[in-house]
């Protein structure tokens, strides 16, 4: 372990030296109104504006699969709160899978800075990185993250994206540079926006529903998936759950600087929030066996008290497959897809009840599970693409998690 730690540090310094030589003029810079010291945390709020900032590094790292095997990955890490001068060292080899969760509120202005820290284990690569805020309505090209249609930061440089957050719902984000490669390598994350309806005054009448807000949109208040006007998307607890999948041959080829198998890509690890079962229910961050870093911070264990309404913010960012998530007896109600309330243009309710949801890459659904009819116990949420209930050769696990009702 000691040897490994030393190697990691020397890799980082080698990379920094290389970068210093090649990109002497690149600039790491965080843009965040009200942040006085460059760590992407607002120090002096600006009246009349709701500013939310984040600083992500984009680079490489490692993740362990549920069968113990190590995967080389590209992804993002959260540098929010890190002094800007420390960003390179903090971001290198720190990639998280999935990428850090982004939660936003309607009405916020979101300043997202991405710093490209380079791929420490692939010093031959000079790839840019970007963020594609997938599903952002009425997008601009410059902040869309598509490298063909905009500009993306080179190594040791930053780019600040600006998003005026006006539509609630479940989105997702990912890098769009060399999209097939960088997304297979893991540059994928959860992103959702909470609606303004949560902020209404206590006692506001919403159709047959009376909104509760005794503590200023705090934990005691009602929360909704969308501005539904009638409380029909109210929930008590929410869980973002992102489906993804890895082809270990692709990740190995990347680490070994071999030709990448695009055409022959076949995913063998199917995951929820970057883990296969039983890691999906492990409450702790999972260290990787290469650097010891904790890159897999999210679990997918769903828990609620009987009677609560559970919101599952489901998305799929697999680059190879549609997946169906089904459950052992959970009543699912789909109230939104693609970050839109499921209603017709004249307000007709298009919600539906089901036992499974099928999503392709880049698709999302908002599913409410009303637990009031459930007996306390453990239920399973799992893919009915049954071959993916496995962790590569290990014939157990894969895309599955537990829903615990107390």
């Amino acid at each position: 372990m000691k040897l490994r730690a030393e190697r990691r540090v020397s890799h980082k310094w080698t990379a920094l030296l290389l970068l210093g030589a090649v990109l002497a003029q690149a600039e790491i810079r965080v843009q965040c109104p009200g942040d006085t010291d460059g760590d992407a945390v607002v120090d002096q709020p600006i009246s009349g504006r709701q500013i939310k900032c984040m600083h992500l590094s984009a680079g490489d790292g490692f993740a362990n699969m549920a069968d113990g095997k190590l995967q080389y990955i590209f992804s993002f890490a959260n540098l929010t709160g890190t002094p800007v001068g420390d960003a390179m060292m903090a971001g290198m080899l720190a990639a998280e899978f999935p990428a850090p969760l982004i939660t936003l509120k309607e009405g916020e202005e979101f300043y997202l800075t991405v710093t490209n820290v380079g791929m420490t284990r692939r010093p031959d690569l000079f790839d840019g990185h970007s963020v594609h805020f997938h599903g952002f309505p009425n997008a601009s090209a410059v902040f869309d993250g598509v490298p063909d249609a905009s500009a993306v930061p080179v190594m040791a440089a930053s780019f600040t994206y600006y998003y005026n957050i006006v539509e609630p719902g479940t989105y997702m984000y990912h890098c769009h540079v060399e999209a097939t490669e960088h997304m297979q390598m893991g540059m994928l994350g959860n992103l959702y926006v909470q609606p303004k309806q949560n902020d209404l005054a206590d006692g506001t009448i919403l159709g047959a529903h009376v909104h509760r807000n005794p503590d200023g949109a705090g934990p005691l208040g009602d929360r909704y998936v969308y501005n539904d006007g009638d409380g029909s998307t109210r929930y008590d607890v929410e869980f973002p759950i992102q489906m993804s999948s890895f082809d270990p041959a692709f990740h190995e080829a990347s680490l070994q600087v071999q030709p990448l198998p695009f055409a022959m890509m076949r995913d063998k690890y199917a995951m929820l929030n970057g883990r296969g079962y039983p890691d999906t229910i492990n409450p702790s961050p999972i260290p990787n066996s290469e650097t010891g870093g904790f890159g897999q911070k999210m679990n997918s264990r769903v828990s609620a008290v009987r009677g609560q309404k559970i919101l599952l913010r489901l998305s799929n960012l697999s680059v190879t497959a549609f997946f169906t998530l089904t459950s052992s007896g959970l009543p699912m109600k789909v109230v939104g897809t693609g970050a839109r309330l499921l209603r017709g243009p004249d307000g007709k309710d298009l919600y539906y009840e089901t036992n499974s949801v099928t999503l392709g890459g880049g698709e999302a659904a908002d599913v409410i599970v009303d637990s009031s009819s459930l007996q306390p116990g453990t239920y399973f949420l799992y893919t009915s693409n049954l071959n993916f209930l496995s962790n590569d050769g290990e014939d157990f696990g894969g895309m599955m998690t537990e829903v615990v009702i107390q």
């Binding site: 003029q25 063909d148 989105y171 890509m265 839109r340 243009p345 999302a364």
Partner: protein, 415 residues
Amino acid sequence: MKPLAIVVFALFAVSMNAGVCEAAIQGRTGTEFDLVARAGHITTGDGDSILMWGYAVGNGLMQYPGPTLIVNEGDLITVRLKNELSEPVSIIFPGQDGVLAIGGNSGLLTREAPPDGATVVTYTFVASQPGTYMYHSGTRVDFQVEMGLTGALIVRPSSGANRAYSHPQTSFDREYLFVLSEIDPTIHELVELGRRSEVDMSRYFPVLWFLNGRTSPDTMADDGAPWLPHQPYGCLPRLHPGEIILTRVIGGGRDLHPFHPHGNHLRIIGENGRLLESAPGAGPDLSYSDFTLTVVPGSTYDALFTWTGEKLGWDIYGHGPGDPLQPNEYAPDHGKPLPVQLPEKQNLMFGNHYSGSPFLGAFGDLPPGTGGMNASGGLFFMWHSHTEKEIVNNDIFPGGMMTMLIVEPPAVRIP
């Protein structure tokens, strides 16, 4: 960026100057169509040349997909088929009622044209319901559709050419076709080598993905581009801010594809040639909005798309407060500056579809050799399969089932 990708895009950059893009859906209009099944070779973005079978118009070249047949609601449609291939072929019209087939030989699903180059099979039907449909071979369907015997059929409502269906809420300013398909070239190689009997469809493994019969970047080339004689249909949607485009999407192969339009959501108003309405005449009251469309094989989708850039929180034109509003500009953002500073050039890699400016219709200072594929200062948004494995041409990225939508400045004419 890989060296091959640079070559591919350099080739494309040359092609951009070749002619004028057409905003309408290209195809054959009328009530009578003479089609001939024949062979030819298509080219793909990895430089491959692949034997296909397809429907040609009269003495014309085999084309992939077949000619888009554009007809009017209520018309009696006659399609005559001859066959110059090496085995019987036919045509079926999913979604059309009462198709009558005359001539040729009887087959499993319909009457078939023998491979004699002379016998005519005639199919007739009344195009009774407006919408987007497909047609394809009804003979050895698993194999012959893979070989290319498929095409689109559009039935325009009698209420007006610029509507998807009869209802006024299905009106559009422009329309574009997206036939999604994929192939496994090993099948085509076996046929080319005369080893048809060795084709094993159970081993099907596609490595090439298409929009309107072309792989990216050819998808963005003009309709009728001369170097793509067998792939006449481009796939480059363009619109001005505030215009509504109708996207007609067809699952033309055998796999599902999540089709993701960057820029804005789609509102899906019709599926499989039927308006999503709760009762006749209600309009698309069951339509829904999504940022990715699940395209199922054999299904069709009619979706509306528009873009204004509203509520970005900054002026998409880069106006000062005193400048005049552009058509359909979102007035509350007028004159608001870009909220962030873009990094200096040495910090950035620039895309060839980027004008160098974040503003619509404007250009910025770009490093030499970049930005060459944006002539108008338009905003480019990628439309692609979000099964990102499918945006390659065999082992070469980028390519495949991918194109760009261009939001053009109001002053730029779209043909």
